[in-house]
Symmetry: C2
């Protein structure tokens, strides 16, 4: 029987949780929710399903050191640093090559490192069912998240007719992938019941991915040849990645493969899920005080409701007479921003970057 593998994609720019997050310390390395970094939480969730030697982590050069530090129990050779971000199609191609070198018949899940999922049991059940689906037929299995609101920040997957029962779970054919919709369109999606959020969770066999690469992304497929050769000869990857990566097209796996393929199926999720896209999302996961304030670290909120305070070390953050504000303190920088404006943080970060010596805050 084919072996199962898990490939965790741990990338990101570290902007949305600035100043806690930095280029070298993006969301998946933060403990914004729970006591452990989100990457470690992700590994902890999948560890019961496959042996540690079958878990890979793909990260970026700038984050490699911190990722290796937190990924205790994962073999060092299974942590791969991309020399530069080349989006998810390339990462999936690299993942397929890594798995193929271990087991050409292998089946693997690609999972983001920075989502919050509390119900590990339901998550494990869904993932097992998705593996079963990928083992039952040459399909690309996506795990679609049951939407809970008309979100405009995610892509959607429209499910089609019933495909198969896998582990007693109904899997559907995929009718189409759609990009982030406008508000009214998203409301229609939610009402129809046919649409699921695309959370970048995929399960498939090496051969299915390789076939898709050959058919839909031939240039990328050729580009991967040198990587496959290095893996076959058990040579270290760093050198070849550095040589090959700059030439590869930066494109998402959705756009490069999934939207073009006809053998895509979707398993609607049964677990809770949150991508904690920005600071305000953190509030949902922490226990509020009586006035609905949420805090990590040393803080006092006097005459204020709905605030979020994140403080480092022994620094005391105090808030007086203000509501729904985000205050994040780190040793070298502070952010003060209403919850309603957290999405604009990229504009602010551009100004920080432009400061003299601004890179030290990046």
């Amino acid at each position: 029987m084919a072996h199962r593998f898990i490939v965790i994609i741990a990338g990101g720019k570290g902007e949305r949780f600035w100043p806690q997050s930095r280029a070298a310390k993006p969301k998946h390395l933060l403990s914004v929710v729970g006591a452990k970094p989100l990457l470690v939480q992700t590994i902890d969730r999948v560890k019961p399903m496959v042996p540690a030697k079958n878990i890979f982590v793909i990260t970026s050069a700038v984050q490699e050191k911190a990722v290796r530090t937190v990924c205790k129990g994962i073999p060092a050779a299974n942590i791969i640093a991309e020399p530069m971000g080349r989006d998810t199609a390339v990462a999936v191609g690299l993942a397929a090559a890594l798995v193929a070198a271990r087991d050409p018949q292998g089946v693997f899940a690609v999972l983001p490192a920075d989502h919050v999922i509390h119900d590990s049991k339901a998550y494990a059940g869904d993932l097992q069912a998705a593996f079963a689906a990928a083992e039952a037929a040459p399909v690309m299995v996506t795990i679609g998240i049951q939407p809970t609101e008309p979100a405009t920040g995610f892509g959607y997957i429209q499910r089609g007719e019933k495909w198969k029962l896998c582990n007693r779970r109904q899997v559907f054919r995929v009718k189409r992938f759609v990009e982030k919709p406008k508000q009214d369109v998203a409301e229609g999606y939610l009402a129809s019941g046919d649409y699921l959020w695309n959370a970048g969770m995929f399960v498939w066999s090496v051969s299915v991915v390789e076939t898709a690469l050959m058919r839909h992304a031939p240039a990328l497929n050729v580009g991967l040849t040198a990587i496959r050769a290095a893996l076959a000869k058990k040579r270290p990857l760093a050198g070849v990645l550095k040589k090959i990566y700059p030439k590869l097209e930066k494109i998402s796996v959705d756009y490069a493969l999934l939207e073009k393929a006809t053998n895509v199926v979707v398993l609607p999720s049964s677990f809770d899920w949150d991508d904690v896209g920005a600071w305000p999302a953190v509030c949902k996961h922490l226990k509020p005080d009586a006035a609905g304030n949420v805090a990590r670290g040393l803080s006092i909120v006097e005459q204020g409701v709905g605030n979020l305070v994140f403080a480092d070390g022994k620094h005391l953050v105090t808030i007086l007479g203000v509501d729904d504000l985000i205050v994040v303190h780190t040793t070298d920088a502070t952010l003060v921003c209403p919850k309603s404006r957290a999405q604009d943080i990229k504009v602010l970060i551009k100004r920080v970057e432009a400061l003299k010596g601004g890179s030290k805050w990046m």
Copy 2:
């Protein structure tokens, strides 16, 4: 001719500018306005008027070290630390004793250490006129500040009939002192043109103060005997102050002497004046950016107007999408508070004090 002396009262609890101000570092030791601490600015203003040996600074034990550090040029023996705060009547009694030991015929000004006055020339002229008044007759001379708004945070002095011209400046008899008024009353005071703010600036001779103490505050006068004796014998004051102070009544000089005296005159001020009572008052004295934001230290305000940022050292404070907010950062604490709520900082400080180990932020 009698010598002139200046006694600067440098006390305060250090609450209103928390977390920059602390018990050991109150407003007069901060450079909230201008490059130098307010106490040093006060000394700089009076230095041209009297020799340094005739300038005294009365401070508190907890502030003594910091006061001595900034008061360069003032003889060490002229800096006196009260072992505990006993309000202004006691401080004025101590001041009179200090001056009397140098010159029993001496005339002295009592001045607060923590006011902002930009027009040093007008200030010097007013002070010289007040000295002339105190030298012309046995009166208590107050310098009353011309009110610019119906403030409810100050006591007022109602002027009566014309008294004398001193240095070509009209001095008035004082009709009465009134406590901090309500808003509508304050508006009436402002409209009448007869009322001046009581800023705690007094000029008088040793004998006038001693006579008033004997008449209106006999217990305090007796309490001061031991201090006068120590000064006469040129013994160090620390021991006797420690022994006497706990027994002295805590009372303001306004209440103990001025409100009861009938020989009080007032010189309406001709200089600009601000007691910078709390963080929002700082804004008036710093140069705002195009959006009306005022900052000291490293900061970025993105999409916000009317904010005040005070940051220490190399820490970067960033504000995104919020208006009229005060953000103060120090190494160990941060304050975030709307300008409109700055008056409530005492409530917040009580909560900080109540924290485990809270005294380290005091």
